[in-house]
């Protein structure tokens, strides 16, 4: 605890801020190195600690496998390895199947390297967690695929596709329909803040492509969406109710 209410009256804001800063990180020294607990949080809320080992004249900085352990508790080790490799390429932080690490950190840059390694670990776990979410709602996905196959024909519908957006980031979509005029990229969206914001990012990135497909947000439980959520999705996509009649889906190709 940082300060109880009785302390609050006695401490200045400067003292409170100093106390908070001290509580946000923590150092543990052991035989061959030290571990610094950072304020960076995993998606679960677990604080990330980073290990430092002196390797004269430089330092080894590692997440000590904390990201892998988080993924393991989620039952998502394989996906974690996949995303960790991507994060490693994007950030330059090395990854060895279990740990993110920097081998030759300079003393002067250690605070920054510690933050970079912690952030890489967090990013990989975040991507892993998002992948878990994509696998939820199997029934709705199956329903979307069935509707699309009825509307456009089985051969034109590919399920579970990856589409590279204008940012060069790759996004998962539930289906891609090969229509005559333009492809149609379909994404299942639920009436939750996370689902809407995640869908918006994907749809917006894909619609900025030169030869962009028609982006479709297929709403699960349409009545539960707030007007604000509809406005947001409408900026980046064509909105469809998952239960729309076939002819409405077929109009997408018109």
């Amino acid at each position: 605890m940082v300060a109880d209410s009785s302390l609050k009256k006695e401490l200045s804001i400067s003292e409170i801020a100093t106390k908070v800063a001290k509580e946000l990180s923590h150092v543990e020294i052991f035989d061959d190195g030290a571990r610094i607990r950072t304020p960076v949080l995993m998606p679960s809320g677990r604080q990330i600690s980073i290990r430092i080992n002196a390797m004269e004249p430089k330092f080894l900085v590692s997440d000590d496998g904390v990201g892998y352990r988080e993924a393991e508790l989620m039952g998502a080790e394989s996906n974690f390895r996949r995303y960790a490799s991507i994060v490693s390429q994007q950030t330059g932080v090395q990854f060895n199947s279990f740990e993110f690490f920097e081998l030759e950190a300079e003393l002067d840059n250690l605070p920054g390297i510690v933050a970079i390694v912690a952030d890489a670990s967090r990013m990989a776990v975040q991507l892993t967690a998002e992948k878990l979410i994509e696998n939820l709602g199997f029934e709705e996905t199956a329903q979307i695929i069935e509707v699309l196959r009825h509307a456009f024909g089985t051969n034109r519908v590919n399920s579970d596709v990856e589409i590279r957006g204008a940012s060069n980031e790759t996004w998962h979509f539930d289906a891609l329909v090969k229509a005559d005029r333009k492809d149609i990229a379909v994404l299942r969206v639920k009436p939750s803040r996370n689902s809407v914001s995640s869908a918006y990012v994907k749809l917006d990135d894909v619609r900025r492509l030169d030869d962009a497909p028609v982006g479709v947000a297929a709403l699960v439980r349409r009545p539960e969406f707030s007007p604000e959520q509809i406005i947001l999705l409408n900026r980046a996509s064509v909105i469809m109710d998952l239960n729309s009649p076939l002819r409405d889906w077929q109009r997408l190709a018109a």
Binding site: S44, G45, Q47, E72, L73, G75, A129, L136
Partner: protein, 174 residues
Amino acid sequence: MILRSDEEILNALRKAAKAEKRIIAAAGWKQGQRERELKLSIALQTPKDLIAGLELRGNAILNQPDKNVTFQVTLDIRGQIFRLERIDWRPQNPHVNRFGPPGLRGLRVESAYHSFDLNSTLDLETIVRGNLPIAKPLNPEPNDFNELLISLREHLGIMNAEEIMEPPWSPTLL
């Protein structure tokens, strides 16, 4: 029964969380993929409710006795494994509640109980993404592994939790 909506999945998880559970096949601790990692997987039965697909999963570290132990109850719904409840005992890194009611949001917890009751106030996606992101302090804090097993009985509803073997810790091994 084919579960279709998040609400139906949450109801199945709620029912499983409340059910009294018993260990039916206690396997021993095994080395995980990582050196020093110990894992345990135990099938659970719910004598009164007949819920299929329940498991207790344990994690410990070979050279870290009496700390860094996690137990979680999972439920298999049509091949997808959902985390129901979790106990973290003396973890290396504390947990901070990103969500939760006043008093719990922002709270930093060391040994923690991630109950389904607390987390079921969130939507299914948030529960899965954050792997049961709301916790409260594990109370009482177990002083040793045997007391941790008592917590498993009291919080996770595993009536014969004392049958679980202590991890084969070797403090001197690296």
